[in-house]
């Protein structure tokens, strides 16, 4: 399951979707809005998305994680739009037979997401609005 949505993440529903009887665990990652960024206080955030491409990229990353780590299921829900401090930004859930591959796959998905899924944060700070840009090189 891959979702890019404005609404909050229904974590209970996503957990149900990722769990399975053949799995011994679910490892999950929840990214949230922090109240500081590089020394500035953050009041709120908005996230922009190139939705069509983001869904394609997330689907590719999901397939890679399933194949590379042999896990049973990978779900990713990423939000866009206006968010407040403490709000959920992204939820990643991985189910697997054993924890080791689930932790590895979960880390792989968030690391790749931060490199190649077209989403951009704009932070509203005491000093004004700031686009956050990653460090991907060509």
């Amino acid at each position: 399951m891959i979702r890019v949505q404005r609404e909050d993440v229904d974590i209970d529903a996503v957990l149900e979707a990722v769990k399975s009887d053949k799995s011994g665990c679910v490892v999950s990652f929840l990214g949230t809005v922090r109240d500081t960024s590089e020394g500035r206080s953050v009041q709120r955030m908005s996230i922009e998305v190139y939705e069509e491409m983001a869904v394609k990229q997330l689907s590719m990353i999901r397939e890679e994680a399933l194949e590379r780590f042999g896990v049973n299921e990978v779900v990713v829900v990423h939000r866009y739009g206006d968010l407040e401090v403490g709000d959920s930004i992204v939820y990643i859930g991985v189910s697997a037979g054993h924890r080791e591959e689930a932790f590895q796959a979960c880390k792989y998905v968030i690391d790749e997401l931060k490199e190649r899924v077209p989403l951009w944060k704009k932070e509203y700070t005491g000093d004004g609005e700031v686009w956050v840009e990653g460090d991907r090189r060509e």
Partner: protein, 80 residues
């Protein structure tokens, strides 16, 4: 030929546009199109990192752009 170009995040602010249709020579590459756009917008020209996607996928810079392609320009991503 005409190509459809979209801009995201700070690039949308720099160009003042979400998207536009550009007339470019047949056979232009992704890199050529990027240079063309840097020629149109000074602020884009000053950027080191200008990422490009064609039809929703990252492609090599030497890829030839086809009529009707959807090309997107954006800064390094910052989701998660």
């Amino acid at each position: 030929m005409k190509v459809r170009v979209k801009y995201f995040a700070s690039f949308r602010d720099m160009t003042g546009k979400m998207e536009e249709s550009l007339e470019v020579p047949e056979g232009i590459t992704v890199e050529g199109l990027r240079e063309h756009i840097k020629g149109l917008y000074d602020k884009m020209a000053r950027r080191n990192q200008v990422l490009v996607a064609v039809n929703g996928a990252f492609v090599p810079l030497e890829t030839v752009v086809r009529e009707g392609d959807n090309v997107a320009f954006f800064p390094p991503v910052s989701g998660g």
